[in-house]
């Protein structure tokens, strides 16, 4: 109790955060009830008719739900894998550069796209992959007929993953570069004296130094596996690529805000949250086991 008295200013500082949490995170949780109702705005949350699991049943009857869940998984997993690997490779290569100025320049240039929103990026992407875009001009030189990439369901997912990696790899590499600065230079010197060449230095010194970081980032991103990127997909897709590009978030958006099916959208959103919750739970367990990482 005496301890509490001493620390009361700390608790006071905690208060605004707690109030915020209650107002914006705890209270809205009651809205989940909508998923089990035939929600009528005129009657409100308390008087709307309860329908049990009807919304969920209808949701899984729709062919859409399967397509959308599958797309979400594929796109999100693809992004996680490539957003781990490409920055890693990039960071290692950058680390091998001798010229500090050139290194800085490259780093600055590649992480610029991170700061552009998808609204702007989508225009650039559509420009590049458009019918008269850069890509078609280049493959045209080899005699290939121009293709309409943005309308091709067969490659839309790859396009999403690719452009996301392009936008983020420079930024994601920062964490690896930071980890690399922590490597003791003595290790390199010792290995060099033992006769290791450059490739062996990377394999035996650099990579092991990064393993923990890679594992940690990989495990943590598991909780994100259902976040396939609303902004990106919403700005790039069109009906022609619904079959491979429509994800849970865009689906919920269309159901709830464009078609005013509030209950169905809430049900779909809740479904996503529950799965994400389980994945976060698992990922923290894994993070603890393999990377010795805990939040609490």
């Amino acid at each position: 109790m005496r301890k509490l008295g001493h620390q009361k200013h700390y608790y006071l500082m905690l208060l605004p955060g707690m109030v915020w949490l209650v107002m914006f995170s705890i209270v809205p949780m009651f809205g989940i009830a909508m998923a089990f109702q035939n929600y009528n705005p005129g009657n409100g949350l308390f008087k709307s008719e309860w329908v049990g699991l009807d919304n969920f049943k209808y949701m899984f009857q729709l062919n859409d739900s399967k397509t959308v869940i599958l797309n979400t998984f594929i796109i999100a997993v693809g992004k996680i894998v490539f957003n781990l690997l490409i920055p890693l490779i990039f960071a290692i290569l950058l680390n091998e550069l001798r010229s500090l100025r050139y290194k800085k320049l490259v780093q600055t240039v590649v992480y610029l796209p991170h700061f552009l929103s998808w609204v702007i990026m989508s225009t650039i992407v559509i420009g590049i992959f458009g019918y008269y875009g850069v890509v078609n001009t280049i493959i045209g030189m080899f005699g290939v007929d121009p293709k309409l990439f943005m309308a091709d369901a067969g490659i839309f997912r790859q396009l999403l993953i690719g452009t996301d990696v392009w936008k983020e790899f420079g930024y994601n590499a920062i964490i690896y570069l930071a980890a690399l600065t922590g490597v003791n230079p003595n290790l390199y010197e010792a290995a060099a004296i033992d006769g290791a060449n450059r490739w062996q230095l990377i394999r035996r010194v650099t990579l092991p130094a990064l393993t923990t970081t890679v594992v940690l980032l990989g495990v943590l991103s598991l909780g994100n596996v259902l976040n396939a990127g609303f902004d990106q997909v919403y700005n790039l897709y069109n009906p022609l690529v619904y079959s491979t590009g429509d994800i849970l978030d865009t689906w919920v958006y269309r159901l709830g805000l464009q078609n005013l099916q509030f209950s169905l959208a809430t049900a779909a959103g809740l479904f996503k949250s529950v799965i994400s919750f389980v994945l976060i739970f698992i990922s923290y367990r894994l993070a603890y086991r393999y990377a010795d990482y805990t939040v609490f």
Partner: protein
């Protein structure tokens, strides 16, 4: 971790708006609004237009939600959304205080805000929504004021005339289950009749006649491309972008720039419309053989490279048109003029002309639109005086719009919902031609409260913009010095000419322009299937036979059920 929290948050966003916004609006208006007995004792002596334009003895507060065009720069320094020339006008003339509860930017921002406002069940006193499903959702949830009686009492004679010009369609459009729950938007009928827009100067260069049928169009488009009249990237026919549609539908029945509506019409196909078969049954126009045949034709055109290769994925159909790469597109009367202004700026000789597309047996078939697609909705919780104030605001807009100082965009007028006589453009076309030929004088149209509210202003300008000869107008007849006037008069005199001067052989109305109960849950899925199938067939990504599978799936996944419901409507 943060992202996950954000995700959890977003799931329950709908719920948040629901619990957080408890009755802030009504309590605020309680404070200042005069008590009921006050106002009703002050008004009974008045009637007709005196009542429709009466000034409140005490200030009335009207809380509104408002759409704001973020690119608009016309509001003078120091003025704001709730204090500008229009709000001051309402305050001075009618003692109406406009209080803006929230604003949202044009487009998706506004739609989201409206959607969330409805979901939370707490509407401002008044707001203008731009989709009928918003209105019906709010009405079916019991959120809207029944204005049936007040409207009868408070509408101005001008509004009454405009309502009457639609033969009751406007009233039906504004009603839900027989009760008038919103003020309808009434736009000119010709907004829903899509015509062929073509570069006449290109035709003249190649000494080609104006194409009449689909096969003529095919030949013309091919000639444009072969002769590279729009440069290396010449597009024969521009098509819908990712934000417009291959054709208008019963829910969005007008103003479809870049759609293929006239081609479907020429093939006697009306996709997206509910068709009365004449024997008490209805069918959905997309499922017909004629639609399938038209799709086969369009797919063939696409394959031959006549249609914009980037159709369906472009940001804006206007881009290639304004860059003068395209020779043909389809759209309503205002598309040439208002819709493609930059095309004229980039090439002053771009002589865009509008014509109907005929079927092979020489018929002009056109689908017709509903009266309008925006609605002023009024909250159930609004005080009667507030409702009256909103009706008066509407009357005042209709009467005085032409007299406002329009250097401040009229979009800033609170609760602006356009009401124009259904035949306004046709009337203006005919009368402006008379003014040009000297048969009438602009002063002849100086009639305040006229049904055609912009007629006088246009009559005064028309001679400055259009030069003789008047019988066969081309772009060279127009003076573009005042570009706004040019756009309006070009749209009326060129764009509306087909609709005004050529009778339509077959006008097709949809059995309904509204959603039935089953549609509210199942339409999104069906529409998605339809959009996907149609575009894929046109772009050659799916064989034409996939159409049959679509028809089967469509029927099985709720289509049959919905068709029955629409057939019920026919019986009423």
């Amino acid at each position: 971790m943060k992202r996950n929290m954000a995700m959890l948050l977003s799931v329950v966003l709908l719920g948040l708006s629901l619990t957080a916004c408890t009755s802030s609006n009504d309590s605020a208006s309680d404070l200042k609004a005069p008590s009921k007995s006050d106002s009703s004792s002050a008004t009974p002596a008045l009637s007709g237009d005196d009542l429709a334009f009466s000034k409140f003895p005490n200030p009335v507060d009207v809380h509104i939600g408002m759409v704001v065009d973020p690119t608009d720069k016309t509001l003078p320094e120091g003025d704001s959304v709730s204090n500008n020339q229009y709000t001051r006008y309402l305050k001075e003339k009618y003692n109406i205080n406009v209080i803006v509860d929230w604003t949202a930017a044009t487009g998706n921002d506004f739609k989201q805000k409206v959607s969330l406002t409805i979901a939370s069940g707490k509407l401002p006193d008044g707001m203008v929504v731009d989709d009928r499903s918003f209105m019906t959702k709010a009405a079916s949830s019991g959120l809207l004021y029944d204005i049936t009686d007040l409207f009868q009492q408070y509408q101005s004679s001008q509004v009454k005339d405009i309502m009457a010009s639609t033969d009751g369609r406007a009233m039906e459009n504004a009603s839900y289950k027989g009760k008038m729950v919103s003020l309808p938007n009434i736009t000119v009928d010709t907004d829903g009749v899509h015509v062929l827009w073509i570069r006449k100067d290109w035709l003249d260069k190649l000494q080609l006649p104006v194409p009449k049928t689909t096969s003529d169009i095919e030949k013309t488009a091919k000639a444009f491309i072969d002769n590279k009249l729009g440069g290396d990237k010449t597009i024969g026919i521009a098509g819908p972008s990712k934000n417009s549609f291959p054709y208008s539908t019963f829910l969005l029945s007008s103003n479809n720039m870049g759609g293929f509506d006239p081609i479907f019409g020429a093939m006697d196909a009306y996709p997206g419309y509910w068709l009365d078969n004449g024997d008490g049954s209805v069918s959905y126009g997309t499922l017909t053989d004629n639609t399938k045949n038209t799709l086969a034709l369009l797919a063939d055109w696409y394959k031959k490279g006549l249609i914009d290769p980037e159709v369906g994925t472009r940001d804006n159909v206007g881009d290639p048109i304004n860059a003068n790469q395209a020779g043909i597109f389809f759209g309503p009367w205002w598309n040439g003029g208002y819709g493609n202004g930059d095309s004229f700026k980039n090439d002053p000789t771009a002589n865009w002309q509008a014509y109907p597309v005929y079927s092979d047996d020489n018929k002009w078939n056109a689908h017709m639109k509903t009266t309008g697609s925006t609605y002023t909705i009024i909250s159930k919780n609004a005080k009667p005086d507030v409702v009256k104030a909103i009706l008066i605001m509407n009357n005042a807009l209709v009467r005085d719009e032409a007299t406002f100082d329009l250097s401040v965009a009229v979009g800033w007028y609170p609760l602006r919902n356009v009401m124009a006589a259904a035949n306004e453009t046709e009337y203006e076309y005919a009368e402006l031609l008379k003014v040009l030929k000297g048969e009438t004088q602009p002063e002849d149209y100086n009639k305040p409260n006229s049904l055609y509210k912009l007629m006088y202003a246009d009559a005064k300008k028309v001679k400055d913009v259009i030069k003789a000869p008047f019988d066969d107008l081309n772009v060279s007849n127009f003076n573009t010095a005042n570009f706004g006037d040019f756009q309006r008069l070009y749209s009326i005199m060129i764009g509306d000419r087909p609709f005004t001067t050529i009778p339509i052989d077959k006008k097709v109305f949809s059995v309904t322009y509204n959603q039935t109960p089953t549609m509210e849950t199942k339409w999104a899925n069906l529409k998605k299937m339809e959009d996907e199938t149609i575009l894929k067939i046109i772009l050659g990504q799916a064989p034409i036979d996939s159409f049959d599978k679509f028809v089967k799936d469509w029927k099985a996944q709720g289509g049959d059920e919905i068709t029955k419901e629409v057939a019920e409507l026919l019986k009423k």
